[in-house]
Amino acid sequence: MLRAFIALVKLSFLEAVRRQVLHVMVLLSLVVIGVAGTVSFFDLGVQVKIVKDTGMVMILLAGSLSVVFLISGALFHDVEQRLVYPVLARPIPRGLYLFARYTGALSAVYVGMTLMALTLLLLLWIHLRYVSGLAVVAIAFTYLEVALVGALAMLLSTFFTPAMTATLTLFLYLLGSLKMGYLQHLAERNTGIAKWAITTISAALPNMEAFRFKDALVHDLTVPANYLLLVAIYGICYTATCVAISIWNFGRREV
């Protein structure tokens, strides 16, 4: 079963790395990070802050958009193009296929993100002659956030068309990014069922802000290890839940 999984991940990865959307995102981000790190407008302290800020934003943005566009249409494309039939005619569970599809596409995005991350770390090292541990941690949590966004896209893609999936994923992503501030504020202003509904929605939405340590990195703040652990557990559980629901829904679907 492991060989089958690896073979499927490889096929999914090979398909994803050939997609132009990934190439464009990675190249664009590398250019922006490179420009932010090499063109000097400010003194060193401000310059480093700009490099950290721009670098983290670009890694997150490029990673998230790439994973949404790669995963949103993956299943639909496989079914429409009938690529899925010879694979599902093999003695493998559908869940394995879906998980491998997700893992392969995510791996391709991670390759692009790693290029961006290495560029960012290299620029920080050039400016500071050292790289803080928090920079690595912040990047690692960006990876986790992208995995969660990908899982959300995979989940929605088992219900909707690629366009609808991409739109809904980006909408939920934005809501998840806003939820700490806006939704809690909304809940406080309402009472009764409305308050309960907003609180439930707020709890069900992924808390994207929790994964972002850009500000701590830019301002050289320390983040408690316990908090990091909690966020990591939250991210892994949320991602696993999305993937599990995707597997359940794809398993009962007709292809």
Binding site: R3, A4, A7, L8, R82, P86, L88, A89, P91
Partner: protein
């Protein structure tokens, strides 16, 4: 007894329901196919052939009834352990070469890593796809892609082959080659479930034939059982002189020479007269055969004798 069935379906039914209409794609289909058999599954477009195959491979779920592959319910992945499937109009990643594709499918079929190279080469050779195994699939012709699809089905060394229109879109030469490959697989004891429009091919290689029409199984038996004797007779005679030939031409539908033998086609009303002519002219009757329907004729007869409002429509 059940352990002998490679494919078993019991009252398999598939109904597609939308807001506006209900369509019964397959109705009450019960099939029992023994291990080692070659079975042709024939029917018009939309008769329910591909839907049946999709239910067997659990791509879709039956509305009613059940299906088993080697006595394992179809919904379980391990039911497909012994299966090789060739889809109608196969699509594969265009950037992969056939060899790369087959290596991936060998892993999916559970072939051990140490055997993969050997199995891939054997499958490519069996499907006559080895000559272009290094070229990207996107650059192959339709016939070549069909062969790659067959190689893909064979790479796990399956005991049961489910082939959905394997000769679809192939030129006559490729079709003959495909038939020869299937014949060879049959001789190796493989079970073959062959969905096809090419009734001549089915008649040549299949032990039994299932006829499906509007989702309903109309007939299932050997070609001998499905075809009926016709009114046509063929006589083969030697030592036929010109007088006898002239007389035969007047009472037979068709007369032709094949070397020293005269072959005459006639019907039941005139067969006795033809024999009399041969006797009177001292010609030698070598052979007299009552002709049977071709599978195509039998198919048309069976399908046309089906009532217009079949149970399928009633069920719908």
């Amino acid at each position: 007894m059940q352990a002998h069935w490679a494919i078993r379906t019991e009252r398999l039914t598939k109904v597609y329901t939308s807001r506006k209409q209900t369509h019964t794609a397959v109705y009450d289909l019960s099939l029992h196919i023994a291990d080692g058999e070659t079975v042709g599954f024939i029917g018009a477009n939309g008769a329910g052939k591909t839907t049946t195959i999709k239910m067997l491979l659990h791509f879709i779920t039956p509305t009613q009834g059940r299906a088993w592959l080697y006595d394992i319910p179809c919904e379980q992945p391990r039911a497909r352990q012994k299966v090789g499937y060739m889809p109608e109009q196969p699509y594969f990643p265009r950037y992969l070469t056939p060899r790369e594709l087959l290596s991936a499918h060998a892993a999916l079929a559970g072939v051990p890593a140490r055997d993969t190279t050997h199995r891939v080469e054997v499958a490519l050779e069996l499907a006559r796809a080895d000559a272009f195994a290094h070229r990207p699939i996107g650059k192959l012709s339709k016939g070549m892609t069909q062969r790659v699809a067959l190689a893909q089905a064979l790479v796990g060394d399956p005991q049961l082959l489910i082939l959905d229109e394997p000769a679809s879109g192939l030129d006559p030469v490729s079709r003959v080659e495909m038939r020869n490959v299937l014949q060879a697989l049959k001789e190796h004891g493989k079970t073959i479930f062959l969905s096809s429009h090419h009734l001549g091919e089915v008649e040549r290689i299949c032990d039994r034939v299932a006829i499906i029409h509007r989702g309903r199984l109309l007939a299932f038996g050997t070609p001998q059982e499905l075809t009926q004797p016709t009114d046509r007779y063929v006589l083969i005679a030697e030592n036929v002189d010109s007088k006898a030939e002239k007389a035969l031409r007047s009472c037979c539908e068709q007369v032709r020479w094949e070397g020293v033998q005269l072959v005459a086609f006639t019907n039941s009303a005139r067969v006795y007269d033809s024999i009399q002519i041969l006797r009177e002219t001292n010609a030698r009757l070598v052979c007299l055969n009552q002709q049977r329907e071709t599978l195509e004729e039998a198919y048309l007869r069976i399908v046309q004798s089906t009532p217009a409002a079949s149970p399928v429509e009633k069920a719908a």
